[in-house]
């Protein structure tokens, strides 16, 4: 059968220098208005990114009302203020606030998705989110229970295992434990991550619609697990290498293999007795050790961050490659997790070295990579997708969801 509906690549037209202006104005006005403008800033940013995304000659658009987002922002600010004030006087009360917020997360997630999608459009048709709150809570509770079960089982296994080691000092047994411990940990972490991630992504995608056309993701839990396991293993390997490096550096400092005596200035020292010079030497070695530890800490953060970026890209690919629109049209996501991770890492470094000024360019850069590796593969015409009736969507869930770090774009 001849396919007269060719696949269309997503094209990102955003440019760093354009967005920089928008970002800068947003920043200045947000600070000048003590945060009130933040709602308008968010809408402008989303509009820019949406309108810069093109598929088959048409752009996307965003219609969120800043006033609605402002209401949500004020609510978040109020809660944050209550938390800070109460933590000074009554740690118990602030703990209660934190607990309540965490319990309400699924609620805010659903609200946020509804607002976000209902205000996103392509060629005049709006998206929609139909997920209901009860299901969100149900899934979350089940996932938490299973994770807790995992931890309990893990704990029991280790108690038994270490009890075994204590009973008789067995070199083979203990070395098996030492090696298997991180492996089991990685496996457990991957499994739990896979549960949460698959639960969330499937919940979002399977309840999303474009016009009257459903979106459905057919990726199975097993595939999620494989992806998280691979990412976690890579991260574990990187951390292992770091640990070896840290150990090697500190060992060498101790044994004095590397000469780290600080160059003393030419002026005669005020204190020329040997004891204080030796003390200076020890201090110098301590400084080196501390600074190498500091570098190791930074590198650890970078590894964890890279793990997050790698995982996210791999999961995005998995989700989109298994998503169908109206049960026929498909998507292809070909972003390379390695390349995406490198982009994110280099972005962070550039942002740090430019004291934040590179941030808008960084966002454009990573968005361009992600979008330019997405393709829409229609099977037949999409002209039969039409509008569906919808009611007004509440907005304040949007800001709460975003404030707590849930960046869920399509």
């Amino acid at each position: 059968m001849l396919n007269t509906y060719p696949p269309g690549k997503f094209i990102f037209h955003g440019a760093g220098r354009e967005y920089f202006k928008i970002w800068l104005v947003n920043l200045v006005l947000t600070i000048a208005t003590l945060g009130i403008y933040a709602a308008w800033a968010k809408v402008r940013t989303r509009k820019y990114f949406y309108q810069s995304t093109e598929l088959n000659g048409n752009r996307f658009d965003y219609h969120g009302d800043p006033k609605a987002i402002l209401k949500g922002n004020l609510l978040v600010a109020g809660i944050a203020l209550a938390y800070i004030v109460s933590s000074a006087y009554s740690p118990g009360f602030s703990g209660l606030i934190m607990l309540t917020v965490m319990c309400l997360m699924p609620f805010f997630l659903v609200m946020s998705l509804r607002f976000h999608l209902a205000n996103s459009s392509y060629r005049g048709l709006r998206f929609r989110f139909n997920g209901d709150i009860k299901t969100a809570y149900g899934k979350l509770i089940i996932t938490i229970l299973i994770s807790l079960g995992c931890f309990v089982v893990l704990g029991m296994v280790y108690k038994i295992g270490s009890g075994f080691v204590d009973l008789e000092f067995n070199m083979v047994m203990s070395s098996v434990l030492v090696i298997s411990a991180p492996l089991v940990l990685i496996a457990c972490v991957s499994f739990i991550f896979a549960m949460f991630i698959s639960g969330l992504r499937l919940f979002v995608m399977n309840n999303a619609k474009f016009g009257n056309a459903d979106l459905n993701c057919g990726a199975r839990f097993g595939e999620f697990s494989k992806t998280t396991l691979k990412s976690a293993s890579l991260a574990g390997l990187a951390l292992l290498l770091l640990a070896i490096a840290a150990f090697a550096i500190n060992m060498s400092v101790f044994t004095g293999l590397l000469d780290f005596s600080l160059p003393m200035h030419d002026k005669p020292s005020m204190l020329d007795d040997e004891a204080s010079q030796e003390q200076a030497q020890v201090a110098a070695q301590a400084m080196t050790m501390l600074s190498s530890l500091g570098i190791i800490t930074i590198l650890t953060y970078l590894v964890l961050f890279a793990f997050g970026a790698y995982l996210k890209t791999a999961i995005d690919n998995l989700v989109w490659n298994n998503t169908m629109l109206a049960n026929q049209h498909q998507f292809k996501s070909t972003a390379s997790p390695m390349a995406a991770t490198w982009i994110h890492i280099s972005n962070i470094l550039l942002i740090v070295f430019t004291i934040g000024l590179f941030l808008p360019f960084a966002r454009i850069r990573s968005t361009r990579y992600r979008i330019s590796h997405m393709t829409f593969v229609p099977v037949g015409s999409i002209d039969d997708i039409v509008r569906e009736e919808q009611g007004k969507q509440k907005a304040f869930g949007d800001s709460m969801g975003d404030a707590l770090g849930l960046e869920l774009g399509i």
């Binding site: 104005v25 200045v28 752009r59 000074a88 005049g124 048709l125 020292s269 005020m270 972005n347 770090g405």
Partner: protein
């Protein structure tokens, strides 16, 4: 009609918001009404009721019609005509973006604003908060600091009671004639042995900590200078102010850096914290100098203190760099010499 005049009829695509299909239409302006034909039906929409939201870059210009439909115009060919129809109301910051010189000015102004905020505003705000809070509240909030430090960097002091009493006496004589007696009433002196070398600390609740290591590496006559310096920190509530400033700077940096918080904020906070710290050291030095002058003590003891401290300094350099947490020894000695030359501050003992 000259060729440079913008066209009076524009081509647009009409999306009705119900189906994906877009219909090409020709739109013209009839006395404030947009007119176009969909098939045989004539549509007339008042320009006033049309919503136009900001569009960027080279994206099409979208006019939102009251019934939810939209008209999309190609930006390049339609911009001027739409402007002449007053269909586009550019908000002031859109205008700014179209004028590079103006947005350059805005950028510079914003950078200047942010800088002055960080340099002037934050210290002022934390100073105000620190002094507005009653000392009793601060002490209550900070009473865990010393026990925490005791667990980490402090060990019990190995000094004998006589030496401790001697330094206690020195402290009291410094506070005797001080006008700030009321403010310093809560000051306590404690002794510790420190794992991180010679140091003296002023904690937010008014506790001054002298370490054995400091006492053994400095000549005895410089110790009152150390105590006076720490008294300055206590009186001027430096530790509290520093905690507040760090918290605020950290928050600002998180806002600036968006979602890249961890690395950027900790690095930035450290750099900025060092800068503020030097200001505090200067203030404490000044306090010590003035206290000495008021009590008729010899400033030479302070000079000797800073010379000794300068040589103890691990970095070896006596000049100030941005990364230092205190001014270089040269600078501090200079400050003392300046004060010596202007004995106007000396008052009756």
């Amino acid at each position: 009609m000259s060729p440079t005049q913008p066209p009076t009829t524009l081509q647009a695509t009409y999306f009705n918001g119900q189906v994906l299909k877009g219909t090409p239409v020709n739109v013209h302006n009839n006395a404030g009404q947009l007119v176009f034909f969909l098939g045989d039906t004539k549509h007339t929409i008042a320009l006033r009721s049309v919503k136009r939201s900001e569009s960027f870059g080279n994206a099409p210009i979208v006019l939102e019609l009251p019934d939810g439909a939209t008209l999309e115009f190609d930006r390049e060919s339609s911009l001027n005509t739409l402007k002449s129809w007053n269909a586009l109301s550019l908000n002031w910051f859109e205008k700014v973006q179209y004028h590079p010189t103006r947005w350059l000015f805005v950028s510079l102004a914003s950078i200047a604003f942010a800088t002055s905020l960080y340099v002037q505003g934050l210290p002022m705000l934390s100073k105000w908060i620190a002094f507005a809070t009653p000392q009793a509240t601060v002490s209550a909030l900070m009473e865990d600091v010393l026990p925490t430090l005791d667990g980490v960097i402090f060990q019990p002091s190995k000094l004998d009671e006589k030496t401790k009493a001697k330094h206690q006496q020195q402290l009291e004589s410094l506070m005797e004639h001080s006008e700030d007696q009321a403010e310093l009433a809560h000051v306590k002196l404690v002794f510790r042995s420190s794992k991180i070398g010679p140091n003296a600390f002023a904690l937010p609740d008014g506790t001054i900590v002298l370490t054995d290591e400091l006492l053994s590496s400095l000549p005895a006559e410089t110790i009152p200078g150390v105590l006076a310096h720490e008294l300055g920190h206590v009186k001027l509530r430096h530790m509290t102010r520093r905690l507040l400033q760090n918290a605020m700077v950290g928050t600002l940096i998180v806002i600036f850096s968006g979602d890249v918080s961890i690395l950027v904020s900790s690095l930035g906070t450290q750099l900025v914290a060092q800068h503020y710290s030097r200001e505090f050291e200067r203030e404490a030095d000044l306090f010590a100098i003035e206290l000495f002058v008021k009590q008729g003590r010899e400033l030479a003891a302070l000079e000797l203190l800073h010379e000794k401290l300068g040589s103890l300094d691990k970095a070896g350099s006596r000049k100030t760099s941005y990364l230092d947490s205190h001014p270089g020894a040269e600078e501090r000695i200079q400050l003392i010499r300046e004060k010596q030359r202007t004995p106007a501050k000396a008052s009756q003992p």
